[in-house]
């Protein structure tokens, strides 16, 4: 049951309860799943699907209740992400930075900015992202700068890559130095503002329709009221990183589940039994069943860790301390590492259980592996394992930054 948030007028999206959010996500996921293979094959960007997602209210579920939003817990947001990703992980990835920046507004913006930006979200607007710079040596170096133009006015110049979501965004939050070499801030620019160009030049082997292209900022005018402090200053305990990461984990968990689903559909309808197995259906071959069991086991383990991590982020949000934030980061690290492994593995073993015919390119069954392989490289899973290891050996808590 979706209730309309009538107090915001007819222009606002529905405000959902946790149960509603999960049920709406399930419905949309099933719809998105139908077109996923074709969109991957023909590289059709999911514009209408994103509009449907916005209209459903799912992109507003993290707006705090104080601002008229649903204020749903991380546990629900994570589960919604996982469900959407099972349908089409490209669509699920696009609003990832949207949720991250809603979170940033919650923690870093002024009340006036919050009122304005949350209002935009409740009105169905989307936030993109323009953060990484491709030419930098370290992943977290930045050259984009807000140059002073007049008192309270700036002009933003630079170029950003891997800008997932920017193409479909209404607002693009851009990470930039405030004046040359100054502190990092976020400049909020409208997608349609003069000087903003979004180039759809993303050509990855997977996650092909995420439109994770390049954002060029050519002296874009920005005023003070559209600049927020960089939410990644990490001067104290935070869950900014663990929140962003648990959504990534949920996305890979969704890919893994989709791989099992498609494998089961193929085996029960299209696979021929191996002549020597002595069974009528490939689905009755105990070794095929065993392989499915191993895949199911890995994916359930990953799902359990994602749920556990989301609860840990909620718990840290409730009582924030170095310990609770560290525990959340470790729980999220485990979820990321497990979902990385489970998604790549399930998507690869799909072919082991389905047999020769599943390798036909027209079926696009390899998209699960390509999607998993691409998205799991977002930041290195090996480092999640390293942080878990440091904790296991010495009890060392992970570092305080945005990637864990």
């Amino acid at each position: 049951m979706v209730s309309l948030a009538s107090e915001h007028g007819t222009d606002t999206v529905p405000v959902l309860t946790s149960a509603e959010a999960v049920s709406v996500a399930r419905r949309l996921s099933a719809v998105f799943a139908e077109g996923a293979a074709r969109r991957d094959a023909e590289r059709i960007l999911p514009g209408p699907e994103l509009d449907e997602l916005s209209a459903s209210g799912l992109l507003a579920i993290s707006v705090p209740a104080a601002f008229g939003g649903a204020g749903l817990p991380v546990a629900t947001i994570t589960e919604v992400f996982r469900i959407l990703a099972e349908g089409d992980p490209n669509i699920a990835q696009i609003p990832h930075s949207h949720f991250v920046y809603v979170n940033a507004v919650h923690h870093q913006a002024t009340p006036a900015q919050q009122e304005f930006l949350f209002g935009e979200v409740l009105a169905g607007k989307r936030f993109g992202n323009a953060q990484s710079e491709i030419r930098s040596k370290h992943v977290r170096d930045h050259a984009t700068t807000l140059w002073p133009a007049a008192p309270g006015r700036w002009r933003l110049a630079g170029e950003k890559g891997y800008a997932t979501g920017a193409l479909f965004a209404d607002w693009i939050p851009v990470l930039a130095h405030l004046d040359e070499g100054g502190p990092l801030h976020v400049a909020w620019v409208e997608r349609t503002a003069p000087g903003v160009t979004v180039v759809d030049d993303w050509d990855g082997l997977g996650q092909r329709t995420t439109a994770s292209g390049t954002v060029r900022l050519d002296d874009v005018a920005v005023s003070d009221d559209r600049i927020t402090p960089y939410h990644l200053t990490f001067t104290g305990p935070q869950t900014y990183g663990s929140f962003a990461q648990v959504l990534h984990a949920a996305l890979d968990a969704g890919i893994a589940r989709a791989a099992i689903r498609d494998a089961a559909a193929f085996v029960t309808t299209a696979s021929r039994p191996y002549p020597d197995a002595g069974v009528e259906r490939a689905a009755d071959d105990p070794l095929v069943v065993h392989a499915f069991g191993e895949m199911e086991l890995a994916v359930r383990g990953a799902e359990a860790l994602v749920a556990e991590a989301a609860r840990a982020v909620d718990a840290a949000n409730e009582h924030l301390s170095a310990e609770s934030a560290g525990a959340a980061s470790l729980a999220v690290a485990a979820a990321r590492a497990a979902t990385t492994h489970a998604s790549v593995e399930a998507a690869s073993r799909l072919f082991e259980v389905c047999g020769t015919r599943s390798a036909l390119a027209s079926l696009r069954l390899d998209r699960h592996w390509r999607n998993a392989r691409t998205h799991t490289l977002h930041d290195p899973a090996a480092w999640k394992v390293q942080h878990l290891g440091r904790f296991a050996v010495d009890g060392t808590l992970p570092p305080n930054h945005g990637q864990i």
Partner: protein, 408 residues
């Protein structure tokens, strides 16, 4: 200069174009032509007949290195090496094969046309060789997965033979027809739609009223017995070559990486212990896979060298070769698939660019290994070891007339 050294001299040039052909979806027609001219098809032909007389371990090493240059090529020549081995087997058993050896040394090759997927029931074939009144034959039918035939002068076709002119000669039987693909009526279409091994030329071959002289029709029961092991060995060598190419690409990419994670163990990725360890693991997997594959080649050599032995000895050696190829498949498949997927763990997000094509190694390995699911092979191996159950195909050729088209 041996044929082998001529062939090996082509590798760098072949390797250079492999990624481009992959991205453009282009068949390796040029490389195949140059390899034929260099004498790849004559490597097993005896030296006295103008070949290199390579042993099986030597040939398999060539396959592996060729697959490292271009994953498609050993598979594109698979049917040829099987047919050539059949000729060599009969040469060793005293039949004159000089005409064929001359063709092979002149650069002619054969492709495979055995499979009929779809509604074909086991123990029947819809590709029919019809005896003519003059003793010659005509061939009609359609074969799928005819790997390499698109590049070949000859097609090695598994057929049902019928003789409407002499019904008193009994029921139809199964035979091998060697068909000159250069004549009218033979059409090869590259309709292979796999997401890997795209350049193997595994298309569909159609035969329409094609003439086959009687001397090119061979009794199925005379086929060399270790064809199944040879087929598997070709796939194993291809997998290992894919692994070697993947390792090479990984090393190059790691050397070229500049951005490292800020909490990493070392400033340069190439000094990071975790990254190096992962490269080491990938290399080790490929080392063992190559060693296992060459060991299977030695087992195949043992049966190939026993052409003059008694039937029981041949059967025993053949069973060994067959079992060893199945054993190796279980472990090699696992090692190579893991290596081609794990290589991304040493690289960053930029490795996922389609233009770099680093996913092709996994796609190719996944496609090769889908030919014979590893999980089913492991049961065959276990059944043999625990219960002495013979592997299913060791006895399939030359003993029964079970559908040999599944023995790929």
């Amino acid at each position: 200069m041996t044929h082998r050294s001529n062939v090996e001299a082509l590798y760098p040039q072949i390797a250079e174009g492999a990624l481009r052909r992959e991205l453009d979806g282009e068949l390796p027609t040029g490389p195949v032509k140059r390899l034929k001219d260099a004498g790849l098809g004559a490597l097993r032909v005896p030296r006295e007949s103008g070949g290199d007389g390579l042993s099986w371990p030597e040939l398999v090493q060539v396959w592996i290195d060729l697959a490292a240059a271009d994953n498609n090529l050993p598979q594109a020549f698979r049917g040829h090496f099987a047919f050539a081995e059949d000729r060599l087997w009969h040469h060793r058993r005293g039949q004159d094969q000089s005409a064929w050896f001359a063709r092979f040394t002149a650069g002619e090759i054969a492709g495979n046309a055995w499979s009929e997927v779809g509604p074909t029931p086991i123990d029947s074939q819809r590709t029919v060789l019809t005896a003519q009144a003059d003793g010659s034959y005509r061939l009609d039918g359609e074969k799928y997965y005819t790997t390499g035939t698109i590049f070949a002068e000859w097609a090695d076709v598994y057929v049902r033979r019928t003789n409407p002119h002499r019904p008193e000669e009994g029921e139809d039987d199964f035979a091998i027809a060697i068909v000159d693909t250069r004549q009218g009526g033979v059409t090869v279409v590259d309709d292979w739609d796999g997401f890997g091994q795209r350049g193997t030329g595994s298309g569909t071959t159609t035969f329409e009223n094609v003439a086959v002289p009687a001397e090119n029709v061979l009794p199925f029961g005379d086929r060399f017995p270790y064809q199944t092991a040879v087929y598997q060995l070709n796939l194993l060598a291809t997998l290992v070559g894919i692994g070697k190419a993947a390792l090479e690409d990984t090393i190059t990419a790691v050397r070229g990486r500049e951005r490292n994670y800020s909490h990493a163990n070392a400033a340069r990725v190439r000094d990071d212990a975790q990254v190096l360890a992962r490269v080491g693991e990938i290399a080790a997997a490929i080392y063992a896979a190559e060693a296992a594959t060459l060991r299977v080649a030695a087992a195949v050599e043992d049966v190939a060298a026993a052409a003059g032995a008694d039937g029981a000895s041949i059967a025993r050696l053949n069973e060994t070769a067959e079992v060893e190829s199945a054993i190796a498949q279980v472990v090699v498949t696992d090692l190579i698939l893991r290596a081609t997927s794990d290589l991304f763990d040493t690289l960053g997000a930029s490795a996922t660019s389609r233009a770099k094509g680093l996913d092709r190694h996994w796609r190719n390995a996944r496609t090769v290994s889908s030919h014979n699911p590893r999980i089913l092979k492991s049961r065959v191996v276990g059944g043999y070891l625990v219960n002495g159950t013979p592997p299913p195909y060791a006895w399939a050729i030359g003993v029964t007339q079970r559908d040999a088209g599944t023995a790929s």
